[in-house]
């Protein structure tokens, strides 16, 4: 029998606020243990939480960026469980009335992975286990998170990978998180089940917790898919449980122990009041959102005539697309700009990390100037390419490298003169052309281009040479 994978994600993203969700302590990553703490975030008796306005704003931005509906009324709940990394023995979260409802993430295939909701909550502290001793650091305790909960719409490992990448991309675009999986600012739990292809009924699911890279997510899902299929095939049953993935052995194992009773006893947090978001506030926040990658990509293809593949490269990181947008201002051929970026500039910005930062020695205004020279016919493509290399080496503008005499193209007489020279000094090529070797003409055009130092219009030169040869 053939089986199909059914998966949904719960993705935690740390928000890039300056301070924690309920107190004024910094959210900076790292720091000496227990130095980003105060009575509130270590849960001293009698302390009270006060909600950070920016957390709500970022949550709304995340909702809007994923096409969700922003709840007019939302509330904070307590999720009760006793564990040393949780200073109050409850996590302040949202269950009964989350901040945003619904929405979706669109994959490149056009398939929409629906979201159930997005809620805001606090992160827990960090535990270090050593020789059976447990060391507790609350620096991360109280750092704001959003949890993005998807519907079980994912059907393959590829879709899972793209879903996570798309989420990462869009959250970075709107600037609410750096989404660094290796630093834990983005973490995924995956709910996974299998069912015979064609079946409508969902199988029993397991949950794989806290994976810290996209590769691990994919490997864990692959392993878990195989494990569940094997289990069913051999007559067994999948048990609903929480699993941890071990990337060293590439296996999943149960996290359950006798000590964990799972009943979070959620109830409204009496220390915090209702969050009321008006339509006007939602509109105001919407107006500050940048154009999102999926929409941007579509626009590049439909309006600017950029090939789909290139448009995806340009929109992968917000900094690249913004560079492109600026460099395109007022140019006739955005495709030329795109080619310069994806070709010459990308060859100098190789790693993904560098692409994300996209700190290029030539600024977009300088590239814009160069492309405009090309647009106006003042310089030719070869010269532009060579000039861009020099610009990238030096960080200087195009005009530093192009003299007056290089500009303006060739006049009629000079062009005629060069074409004549080309015919005269390349008898073999002329002969070949006459004998039906169409390609031989390229050598003659090349001669003109070379001797005009790129100023000649190649098409015009070809026409003139054909005329001369007869």
């Amino acid at each position: 029998m053939k089986y199909e994978l059914v998966a949904g994600f719960e993705t935690h993203i740390e928000l890039a606020t300056k301070t924690k969700i309920f107190c004024g302590c910094t959210t900076q990553f790292g720091g000496e243990p227990n130095t980003h703490c105060c009575p509130v975030c270590i849960g001293l008796p009698g302390t009270l939480p006060k909600l950070n306005r920016q957390v709500v704003r970022y949550g709304i931005m995340a909702g809007l960026a994923t096409h969700g509906e922003i709840a007019e009324i939302s509330k904070m709940d307590r999720k009760n469980y006793c564990y040393p990394d949780l200073s109050k023995a409850y996590q302040i979260s949202q269950l009964y009335a989350p901040l945003t409802i619904g929405g979706y993430v669109e994959l490149s295939s056009g398939k929409k992975i629906r979201l159930h909701h997005i809620h805001i909550e606090e992160d827990a502290g960090k535990l270090i286990h050593q020789h059976g001793d447990t060391y507790v650091d609350y620096n991360r305790g109280g750092v704001p998170l959003i949890e993005i909960v998807s519907e079980p719409d994912i059907r393959s490992i590829d879709e899972a990978r793209e879903y996570v990448e798309k989420l990462q991309q869009v959250m970075r675009y709107i600037g609410i998180s750096d989404c660094k999986m290796q630093e834990g600012s983005m973490r995924c739990d995956v709910n996974i089940s299998v069912r015979p292809v064609g079946s409508e009924k969902l199988g029993t699911r397991t949950e794989i917790k806290n994976m810290n890279s996209i590769n691990n997510i994919c490997k864990a899902m692959e392993y878990e898919f195989e494990r569940q299929v094997d289990l069913i095939e051999s007559g067994g049953q999948v048990v609903q449980e929480t699993l941890r993935y071990d990337d060293a052995t590439n296996t999943t194992s149960s996290m359950r122990s006798k000590e964990d009773a799972h009943d979070y006893r959620y109830f409204r947090d009496p220390d915090l009041v209702t969050i009321h978001v008006t339509k006007e506030e939602v509109e105001e926040i919407k107006s500050t959102l940048p154009e999102l990658p999926t929409e941007k990509c579509k626009r590049y293809v439909d309006e600017l005539g950029i090939p789909e593949k290139d448009a995806q490269l340009l929109t992968k990181y917000r900094n690249i697309s913004e560079y492109f947008d600026k460099a395109c201002e007022g140019v006739k051929s955005p495709k030329t700009v795109s080619n310069f970026i994806i070709g010459q500039i990308f060859s100098r910005v190789e790693t993904e990390a560098d692409k994300e930062v996209f700190d290029v020695s030539v600024n977009p205004e300088q590239l814009n100037e160069l492309v405009k020279l090309l647009d106006s016919g003042k310089i030719r493509n070869n010269l532009a390419k060579a000039t861009l290399e020099k610009m990238l080496d030096s960080g200087k503008g195009a005009l530093e490298f192009i003299s007056e005499s290089d500009m303006g193209g060739l006049d009629e007489n000079a062009m005629l003169e060069l074409c004549k020279q080309a015919v005269e000094s390349n008898a073999k090529a002329v002969e070949d052309y006459k004998n039906g070797k169409e390609k031989a003409i390229k050598a003659l055009v090349g001669f003109v281009m070379k001797n005009s130092r790129g100023k000649a219009d190649a098409a015009a030169a070809e026409a003139k040479i054909k005329e001369l040869i007869g």
Binding site: P45, G46, L51, Y90, G132, D271
Partner: protein, 484 residues
Amino acid sequence: MGTIAKIHEMLTTKQCSCTELTKSYLDEIEKSNGELNAYVNVTGDEALKTAEKVDKKIASGEEIGLLEGVPMTLKDNLSTKGIETTCCSKILTGYKPIYNATVWDILQSQNAVMLGKTNMDEFAMGSSCETSYFGGATNPFNTKHVSGGSSGGVASAVGANIAAYGLGSDTGGSIRQPASFCGIVGLKPTYGSVSRYGLVAYASSLDQIGPITKSVEDASIVFDAISKYDEKDSTSKEYNGDTYSSLNNDIKGMKIGIAREYLDGVRDDVKEAVLNAAEVYKSLGAEIVYFDLPALKFALPVYYIIACAEASSNLGRYDGIRYGYKTEHYNGTHDMICRTRSEGFGEEVKRRILLGTYVLSAGYYDAYYKKAQNLRGTIVKAFNDAFTHCDVILAPTVPMTAFEMGRAVSDPIETYLTDICTVPVNIAGLPGVSVPCGFNAKGMPIGMQLIGKSFGEAEILNAAYKYQQAAGENFKDTKWGVKL
């Protein structure tokens, strides 16, 4: 009587220095605390330091505020920086907060002289002060009787003149009930009028800090001082209490309501004293109106469900890791936490944690917690409706007078019933003040309660003040403590 007003006058007219006054309070504590068990921690050195500061100020001719230099106490669930704050629980022994409760910040900035921290039921869970890890505080009218609870230590100390006033907390009657038992005044303010920041939480949606004092005037002075908006408490309301200026307003035509349900099951001597008070009000020109408040029938179970649910969550943090008691012998973290909690909490606290966990757990949430929340809405609405008929509500504070020590421990449900008249106010977030209104045959004080509209402290204190003026004989001093 050692009221705030009297002490202020003595200090400003230099009848005694603040240091002398403080010393005499400390001496009296030394003498009587063995029998009263009101204080669990006496902070004499700090008190004398503040007193010295006040004396210097007086000597230099500076004006001093009403609360400046007045010796007082705090219930041991109010966070005091550097001073042990135990909630009278073994689990918090040795815990010295690194921050102050907002109310203590306010009073400390006014040079209040804190004599020490006072006894209470463990985590404020109890009605007799006897669930305290340190044993109960006794009643200054008869030390074989309980002080009441949970703020029993404050009431005992104020009743025995070993503090001029104190701050307690009231979740289901914990200020008003001991005030009633000890023959003094206790004000439970409107929810949100006094910051809860630094009050160790029992049930967050019900807890409120308030004064326990010898007179209505004192309650007004202290309430006005501590009722300030606090940005640290999200449930704090933008409201600054001003009750003092209207204390002596004429109450002619004031409509005082009596809900029949409040008199059900109340002992005869208590009922009689309350109805006598109604007569006093009539003589002052107020109008007495009777009405029904059937929603009160459910107040007690609603209270216990909500209070225990919140408590089970609030008390989860006592795990032996960050502060307080930690067990000696254990095997792993889970075992350490369970042992610490099982050894550190008393029976009543454990009972309420278990009940709270039960009503929130899967399968029971809807039937208990959610239902109780709905009924809470019903009770709020019933009070709102009642206040269309009357300005304040008059009721007994407790259906009985202070009982003998040891009785409360035997039957939890019977003990819960003593809260029947006090909990509705907490459920609805309203202000209520308990005022002495007589004595029973054995000479034990009886208290009555005036309940106001939301943020109606000025009105109930005005009515209470007028009563004190007319029936001052019910405000009887005890044999104990500093005589001024």
